[in-house]
Symmetry: C2
Subunit: 450 residues, 2 copies
Amino acid sequence: MENEEKEKLLNLAEEKKYRQLKEALLEINEVDIASFMEELDSEKTVIVFRMLPKALATDVFAELPAESQSHIINSITDKELSEIVEDLYVDDAVDMLEELPATVVRRVLKNTTPDTRKLINQFLNYPENSAGSIMTAEYVGLKKNMTVEQSFAYIRHHGVDSETIYTCYVMDEKRHLEGVVTVKELLMNAYETRLETIMDTHVIKVTTTEDQEAVADMMNRYGLLCIPVVDSEDRLVGIITVDDVMEVMEEEATEDFEKMAAMLPSEKPYLKTSVFQLAKNRIPWLLILMLSSTITGAILVKYETAFAAVPLLVSFIPMLMDTGGNSGSQSSTMVIRGMALGEIEPSDVLKVLWKEIRVGFMVGFVLAVVNFIRLMIQYPGNTMICVTVVISMFATVVAAKTIGCTLPIGAKVLKLDPAIMASPMITTIVDAVSLMVYFNLACHLLDMAA
Amino acid sequence: MENEEKEKLLNLAEEKKYRQLKEALLEINEVDIASFMEELDSEKTVIVFRMLPKALATDVFAELPAESQSHIINSITDKELSEIVEDLYVDDAVDMLEELPATVVRRVLKNTTPDTRKLINQFLNYPENSAGSIMTAEYVGLKKNMTVEQSFAYIRHHGVDSETIYTCYVMDEKRHLEGVVTVKELLMNAYETRLETIMDTHVIKVTTTEDQEAVADMMNRYGLLCIPVVDSEDRLVGIITVDDVMEVMEEEATEDFEKMAAMLPSEKPYLKTSVFQLAKNRIPWLLILMLSSTITGAILVKYETAFAAVPLLVSFIPMLMDTGGNSGSQSSTMVIRGMALGEIEPSDVLKVLWKEIRVGFMVGFVLAVVNFIRLMIQYPGNTMICVTVVISMFATVVAAKTIGCTLPIGAKVLKLDPAIMASPMITTIVDAVSLMVYFNLACHLLDMAA
């Protein structure tokens, strides 16, 4: 929705032209209505919400942020509330309940039918980030002796409540999953065809305890619109749809970004996370890395006499440290992302290492040459210092690439998250290596005692 | 597919038990067959490919990497080739052609019907990463005076070739998009209902030149399974399906990871990118950052006398630089990712800044206290040096958070990619600031002349 359009709606609300506002709202999408309602004060939010037709109101409700939902729940009657909750898809209702304050949750659960309540509670009990926690229980379940015509009749009758009707699951009496049939296949076959002759019995499925990231990978790999979730006894309990999986993919990528920048992952969007929570997520790794970099400091102390004799040596420390850190981060980022996408396996370690060493030689050579030219111009006559810096630079880049590509793979082998072996950690390690090489070289080439 | 299972298939191929192999292959998914075929040598690849039923062979072909496709194309007859190309969905065919060597492309295009060739050429001409380049032309197009029954008949007749049939588009004679109707809606309405009474006329659509990232955002926001693509005169030319968009999302996240680690984005997966290409992507930013960090070096030279007088000062440089860089990267990563997801807008700059300053104070305080305790134990008696280090640490963290959150937003305002203001760039800038503060403080507190 354009900002202009939103402005117009806000003006209508401001001037209390509710009839015109209602007409305008009916023309637009529920996502846009929700985005418009977020701009309203809490009193107007409820007024606008009440003017929407019931079905649309539920759709809009699912799109609102937790605060607005909570405010609406507190302002409407129990009857209105129960209608909304019953109309929400179970996974949307679960999402909502996870974010609302406990008193509001109690009121919501009080106003649902026992069936819905049971479903919601069941979902709330699955471990966080598991397939069970993101699945929905609304799917089309068919029997194998049904015909295409009977299936259509069943879908027509039961389908409106199902989040996706395009993939139907065939179960026996004990709800064991026997096959899968898409509406496309139903449409392409004659009305009298029995499902057992057209259903695909090789169903790709996941269990309730499967990690959501694995589910996303699977749906991605096989290009599925939805995937069935079964319990430990292979009984169908729910499905996961592609839109939930897209959210999971974004969340997982965000988590990797955060971890790779030395933060604990956060639950909420940045602007909704409290300052205290942000600080809490950031302090642990900063502390660890701060204390680790005292090792690098200790190395500097050890070579005190070297830079006391040739103070110019100190001025190249930032360049060596930064370039080493950056070169290492490049390699570790490529490897971490490659492993997250399943493009790189731990068994590829030698292939990766051989590649990075060659890249390190090329990159190191170019940087060394550029540096040598610059240094010879800037400090003519100090040839041996220039040679020291240039060789250290080359060695730093090659070492950084080697360390940067092996540590994330090592972490994976040890069942740790490779993302912790990203830029900050690699930088700290490479810094120490780089300065050791630099001052050792300086001592030898410039004929000094350490 | 389990490795075990793959092993079994490979053994069958090895022992030339092709009958058993074929039976086993018919039981599994096309994605898994392709993954199995990647392990075979090129001769066996063709043998296995030929034993697959025609429809399955095309599906498997679409999943194979470019090298295997190219090898198969070179080994099969023109008739076999033309059958495959005609059966592929146009967007898969385009994907394939973009990666094959020119001679192979010519052979492929020679063996397609003029219609398919025209379609493919049309797609190949849309700018890279545009909606046009990822769309497919196979969709279900209906007319508004058709009934539900007629629509089903049309879908049954034309639908098999359409990549997704679940969302149907209603067009006038000039192919202008008039509305959209889902198969779910068709199923829920009586057979004699006319489409114009049930179709949704507020179609969410994109133009051919729209950036693919914007398309992904849009489908994500509105939770669409597919989105129509129109040309500049609002005529329907294709659709983009959710599985293509999931690929786009992964690509875009990968690109951000690469840019944020100071690399030019690469086109291919890591293991398929040449060493030379990898080096070429990494050198430019390393050079820029290497030369920028000489500024930090120059600052060190300026304060030469300070660390000549108190050599211990040098040993805290790595800790200050690393902590500053890490603190700044944390902030910039949060802001860059927040903007990529549309959670943070440039207009939120003051909100973000106020948040980061408070976080900076909290984090800086904790790090300073821990540091103070450590230093007082390690260097008893050097109180003023400890105070200098601790105040510098606090100032560095606050400055790093401030710089880290404002620069990416600034880049966005200047229409630059915020991702370039990530860890490496922020680190270089914060390093210089941090050392300036440190040595200035040292000169004042320790009563030295700069």
